[in-house]
Amino acid sequence: MTDKFEPTIIGFTCNWCSYRAADLAGTARIKYPPNVRLVRLMCSGRLDPTFVFKALSSGADGVIITGCHPGECHYLEQNYKALRRFQLMKRTLVGLGLEPGRVKLIWASAAEGAKFASEINTFVEEIRALGPLHWGIPSDALPVSSVALEEVPA
């Protein structure tokens, strides 16, 4: 293993654009660092800030959110809603003392496998430069009920 800090990053992808861009990066064998773990959502509009807080509080060093380009949303315009939410969420996180560079929103269409890979590359380096985060709480102190509280809808 290398000596350099290997950040753990959670990435959120939209099912239609960026997840497929990730697929395309794979099909084209475009390499990027293994620090990002992706969560598939149907749309960047599904991104609940809770997910980002959850990722950060679970030990992620950075969060990257990806969606269709403005004007190209599979659901017509939901990525704009994601954009608004992202901007307010980022301000809130900065208010909580987080470095603004730890959360990032990028657009990638289904055709942009190479762009997706290079964005991941860039982000991993940016987070590497920021160093580890490991937000405050040791994992054994996670609220007991945080997950169990949510009922699985039938």
Binding site: A25, P34, G45, D48, S58, G59, H74, A111, V152, P153
Partner: protein, 676 residues
Amino acid sequence: MTQHGETNPKSEERIGVYVCHCGTNIAGVVDVQGVAEWAASQLEHRGVVIGRDYKFMCSSLGQELIEKDIKELGLTRVVVAACSPHLHEATFRTACKNAGLNPYLCELVSIREQVSWVHTDKAMATAKSKAMISGGVERVIRHAPLEPLRVPIHPDTMVVGGGIAGIQSALEIADAGYHVYLVEREPSIGGHMAQFDKTFPTLDCSACILTPKMVQVGTHPNITMLTWSEVEKVDGFVGNFTVTVRKKARKIIEELCTGCGICQEKCPKKVIDDVYEAGLGYRKAVYTPFPQAVPKYPVMDVPNCTYFEKGTCKACEKFCPTNAIDFKQQDEILTLQVGAIVLATGYDLFDARRVTNYGYGRLPNVFTSLEFERLSNAAGPTNGNIVLRDGKTTPKSVGIVHCVGSRDRNFNNYCSVICCMQGLKFAHLVHERTGAIVYNFYIDMRTAYKAYDEFYQRVLEEGTLFVRGKVAEITDVARRPDEDGHLIVQVEDTLASKQRRIPVDMVILSTGLQPRYDAKETAKRFGLSCSADGWFIEKHPKLDPISTMTEGIYIAGCVQGPKDIPSSVAQGAAAAARVLGKIQQREISIEPVRASVNQDQCSGCRICNNLCPYNAISFVEDRAVSQVNAALCQGCGTCVAACPAGAISGTAFSNAQILAQIEGLMMLNLEEPVTA
């Protein structure tokens, strides 16, 4: 390794984890066996009862493995770590279903596209695979059994674009007994093929093979042709689209018009025909674009009509024998219900004026491919005489330039596919009709497909001079006496390693194809996406080049990417087959990814009310709560994420599922990777 499994209560589920080798695709980078063993031992407390790796999970033997475990081990959840869910989610869901497990209790983890194909460090790739499986396990625990939604399919179809691909598609569907609306924005169907003279490699006359098909469309009882019409809006979803079409006013009463042509004969206004004649010929202000046009009714070019411009003239009205002219006719808006849509909106020719060093638009005797098609067409402006821009001189030497606007980062990156064969066809036609010396300037000769290379051989035999080199510039500034009065094609003959300046009388640019100028808007209107180049994206580049990401909308012809006539026809027919397949199912199952509102928890704050682009959310005034119409909901989840009361939940992508997945994903971090 941070194990905080203790924070989660021990799962009651019985979970099977299956790790695919995908030959060496995954196994070459990820220690698949180690991952499977790890899952079985380290995730046991999360309910994993079995972890297996197998060469090809998607094979029937692989699937049987899962089915057997479900039955014998009583699995209640399945996690398959293999390729992208977009490829094999359906496969493994079916396997679960076959074994009696609800198909939605299966979760796919993409360790091929997201791990083995994009990472090289084996230890880190293995660690990431484990983390992703851990995420998948946590997520699948919170899956709920779901049933697909079933909706009826409207049996009518809309084909947009009346070129050869659209025509083929419409005819196939109509012949099978279903009704088709064929929408075309020009006055006639036929598309680019109607402009061509000959078609490669057989040199059939384009009109001779196209016209019968056009007539068939025009007379088919199952086809409603909507020419001079454009789609304005598409609502709904697979099986139930509502399409708004603007039928532009032709200013001609179709019921009365006999297509006799007297109106255009009498019309005093001559206009350069930029569309059908590629700017090389003229038409009138009231016109049918070409004699074989279908439908036969002319249209009035309102901006150019003398009456609309000056308030007098009406020559057409005066002479029309059936009183079919109606200057007051207005656009009509049609709202049509269809179950499926085929998009065959074609291509635009690359604008050769952008390559300023080729001088098109500045040097008169530089022609584009489409101009040359009209020039060599017997029905064209010169009656098929290949002459210079002066309209009379036959060229003694002609240069044909390949790759104009294609394979060039300054313009379009891609190969336009047809230009090599097009250039060869031009060489043959020039040779045959004028006897001129013909040069073909090419980078690579791409004559793949049946009988194409044979055609290349034929053109070689005819004595065409081939120069391998991308033309650097075309100029009329002579340096030597022999260049005087000619166009000079300056090029490196890369096989002779020498710059050459070749004087010719005429240059034909084998111009490439590019997406329609409004392709992006069209894509948006139909809810599709375009590649970076602007071509519409197919569902899968190899296995499903017909479908799109939007279910029920198919693509055919050049809208998907440059292609020749046989491929366009094939794709048109294939799209028709898809449509017919859908229609015959009568109803369709849709992924049950839907939002719903918990009425007890909804406070009626109405924040979600402006979020749904499909208007699936409505406010129930008397109970002061919002609700989601499941039939309209497309499952994006924006309202779920927005509800401040947490009253809206989404199936298949619930908060519980996603939060659990994140927690699972974070179980391992790369700083302390587990060496496999």
